[in-house]
Symmetry: C3
């Protein structure tokens, strides 16, 4: 992969950063329509409020035209127009003058991070509120303030997006990302822009073994709805990833599926190891995104996460500080390369069987030293080890583990053997 | 469990301590009839001498009326009336004057424990003998002594006891204890008195999932006979314990079944860990009681032991010093609480399945924070982890292990979910 | 085993050391006919050149009458008559005068081992060449040399040998050794002479559970041919060893089968441990002999190696220094004892089941102490542990591992139980 799409991804992220995304609303439509310009195959669907999915119901649609707090002199001291994080997600409309004491009951700030506006939501409990930095809050001295939120919360739609890039088989790879957070860069916009870059790259393939399903969903309710509507089709998924927190340069993270040893887990670990990345190995108990739904009992999809710095593990998480100081084009580009390597590995990973019994006679094909000496055999040791496991049972990922080789080394040996028609292959199941 | 039966258990133990128990004989009848007063459901059965069971035969019945050694002046220097340990178990009758040399061949003492009368038996080889403290033995200076044992060893019966406390299912829990040791407190009377206390407590339950089978048997021959007669019924046993050495305060011990990973082993380890007891983890190779029979090849019952200080591992073991200095009401009460906790855990342990796909919407039931903030989710992490394994495959014990939680924590989460009708349950098999 | 055949093995080895063995040729016939004098059951077979076997073809037969290099004064400075290692294996005939520069392109020496003549072959690529010590090579100053090799490489036969020693069952043990190396002692002649000694010893048995198949093959092409011709019969092999590098006294080595846990692996490890030998534990990735074929995918035979110092791991390997300084009668004799112990263990290893339920009553058979005391039971602990695993599932090797006992201890307990008719046995499958 030469082009890592890093410049494009950052430009899309910058364009989408000011948009007010939530579980529902025009911000989500704006976001998906912007991404559709990059990838016309993106199918955008509207799901009516009140639609039920498993134990859940799609909520009313929420939109905000304007929102602010005015002091007694009419100064707008907190303004949605400046940062959509100022308004608690799913706030009801309000327009009244309140005492400072009452206002304080509707204000959210972070004493430990005095410059940060926190990100707060109240999706399923009726409420209005503002988020403000601790520093600004300390300046509030007036006795009374006007609070104004011109929002609507009423029947409408939840908007979701999906891309299906067909392959040679019905076996599928899932990439899932979310579109429900307002102006924050690493969590969440790094995910959607990486998903689009991967889709563009996948389209350049001459052929693909797997069919790729790339979905853009509001977290939790979106994935629950999507699983409920595509339950049977999703049985074709052989491996999947939740794309989130992929834009910083600070660290690498792996969070397993509930099972912990699915194809998705195995290829993630092999690629992180092959790339010699020093990654943090999280457990299922550290989860926090849509793998909660994909891996739930009875759904049991092979979905894990490879991330840069994990949600909840960096100080800017879920605040206005999760911005372009956190996410960089370099960070995004490196993440692209990891996911591209994972996909390339999956595309090549198969179960093969040597089609002769005993070792093949490699000398007559130029693959074995002609002269038998004291040390002949050392150079072709990897080759002979790989051959000894090409038994129709181990896939190439398992052989890389058994032989303690990089996948690329296993692959190049298999390609050579294949060139000499020494292999039967069985598609990975 | 508020009442730990500690006072009652000690009083029963004190009453039973002087009784001369053996494989057979009136002492066993006295013991079982005394216990039957506490628990009228106790069924006492007499098994005729000569009855065969697997590779064994019920021996003749042994009783002792009196036994002593007299010195040349007619002083009774060793007297069965003072301690029944003075007579080797299953001694034949004898009444003769012997030289000190001959006497010495029939005397048993412990040079390392000069004040202790050892406990010695000769069940299956015809013999007579006396046990004496090393200190008393040192005083024997006469040339001749009269040895007198007024015993009978003749066809009769072996006496056994059993209690069946029915439950909602035919699945059974086995508690097995033994009644063949004379005046010793920890090994053995702590076992029978604990068994009776547990039976009394089990009767107080409004309902029981399991049927409880509590047996009082002479060790080895008793359990072999009992298994041979109840072979098919015992297939219903899901977990069992040999109750022995349960009265001291010194330590806690666990001895596994032969399999090592049965339900009995799993619940024992979970409870010992939950109670934060620092226990000694023995191996199958340290066994020494009726688990030898219950776990034998072809019998293969899930039977292990939870003990205080294990037989053979405390100096007073199998001597007259295993008395009320070793066993206390506190020790017995603590043991009761452990076994009661094991039983309570078993009664609640089931396999459950969340009856919705995906995570349930806990917010609408007040089980999830309404406000989504940076740290929301931390408080309900245990709950979400447990839910993620309520998959119809793992029982609650396995979930406690997987989530590294106390069983009581898992139970309280399951009870909450159950209250909201979010669970299907499958009885533990 | 009192007679360890050490003297005979060394004498055979000395007699065979000068013979020019290769993949084919009269040297192999001489070797096998010599061994047939020791073991008349040895069946010698000729396989025509051009015969195909799996991916391979039996090469033309190679023989050498004479070969030398003459300097400009007519001195034979390198002479096949002095050491057959001087001629590269499978060298084509040549008779010409060449410049020193051209000669150097056909000379092989070892700068790091200046006194050693290396062993070099060119089986499948047409070539001629000489091997020479670095010291002798340094003396070559003439401008021109005559190179003379009077060899033939033409259609003929590959010669192989096999011995079948029938047993009570069709289950087989395989001993495979190779006969394709010229004058080298540890690798290879220690293997064939040990194989013959084991065959002679096996013939002394009154009865044998297993049938023994002992094969003498040129490495690789020989085993591939043999497997291809006996594929179905070889399904009867329960355990096998490649016998190689068995003559030095320096160390002990174990190289597993591809599976790593076959009967061959288990018995090898048990015997090496029981004999308290400090052995080096190699991995499948260190392999280098005919286990490459026996364990290949689809062939999957349970074949491993127990060796002294492994091929490739001692400095004299594949040079003229692998001679009688490396191999000793003591070294050969110790190896015989190990293999004899492995075979004895296999012959006794079975799956048994105690034919009574519960513990057998050992006291009535004199196998349990009559007097029950504080410590009775300690002496018979091993016996009771072994009995507890005689369940019809574990073979005796597995029981030795589980009980952490020497196989001989397990065996003596089983023999005692067997004497008392307490065992059902099932032949090891």
């Amino acid at each position: 992969v030469n082009d890592d799409y890093s410049t494009e991804m950052l430009s899309w992220l910058i364009a989408l950063l000011p948009v007010n995304r939530s579980l529902t609303g025009d911000g989500n439509r704006i976001t998906l329509n912007f991404l559709k310009k990059q990838i016309p195959e993106l199918l955008i669907t509207e799901i009516p409020s009140g639609t039920t999915a498993f134990d859940w119901t799609v909520p009313d649609e929420w939109n905000v035209k304007a929102a602010y707090i005015e002091d007694s002199k009419g100064n707008r001291i907190v303004d949605f127009a400046k940062s959509n994080l100022h308004v608690v997600g799913y706030s009801l409309p309000v327009d009244k003058t309140v005492s400072r004491a009452e206002l304080n009951q509707h204000l959210h700030s972070l004493p430990d991070q005095p410059t940060a506006i926190p990100y707060v939501t109240s999706y399923y409990s009726k409420y209005w509120g503002f988020c403000i930095s601790e520093e600004e809050r300390a300046l509030l001295k007036d006795e009374q303030y006007r609070v104004f939120i011109d929002s609507t919360l009423q029947p409408g739609n939840m908007t979701i997006g999906e891309i299906l890039i067909p392959g040679d088989t019905t076996d599928e790879i899932l990439l899932s990302t979310y579109i429900c957070h307002p102006s924050m860069a690493n969590n969440e916009l790094s995910g959607p822009v990486l998903a689009v870059a991967l889709a563009k790259w996948l389209k350049t393939f001459e052929n693909r073994k797997y069919t790729y399903r790339i979905v853009f969903l509001p977290e939790t309710i979106g994935s629950i709805y999507y699983i409920s509507q595509h339950f049977e089709e999703l049985r074709n998924i052989k491996a999947g990833w939740v794309l989130t927190c992929m834009g910083d340069e600070r660290s690498y993270s792996y969070l397993p599926s509930r099972d912990g040893n699915t194809l998705a887990d195995r290829v993630s670990l092999q690629v992180l190891k092959d790339l010699e990345l020093n990654f943090k190995n999280y457990s299922w108990f550290d989860r926090g995104s849509d793998e909660r739904q994909y891996c739930a009992p009875g759904i049991d999809l092979p979905v894990c996460s490879v991330m840069r710095t994990k949600y909840g593990e960096y100080p800017e998480y879920h605040t206005s500080l999760d911005n372009l100081d956190v996410v960089t084009s370099k960070g995004l580009g490196e993440s692209f390369k990891i996911m591209a390597e994972i996909i390339s590995t999956l595309e090549y990973n198969d179960i093969y069987r040597i089609n002769v019994l005993g070792e093949p006679q490699l000398g007559k094909r130029g693959l074995y030293p002609n002269l038998g000496t004291k040390n002949s055999g050392l150079d072709i040791r990897d080759q002979m080890n790989v051959i000894s496991y090409l038994d129709g049972y181990n896939d190439l990922l398992e052989i890389a583990v058994k032989c303690n080789l990089k996948f690329s080394r296993v692959r190049s040996i298999v390609e050579t053997l294949s060139k000499f028609s020494l292999l039967d292959s069985t598609i990975q199941i």
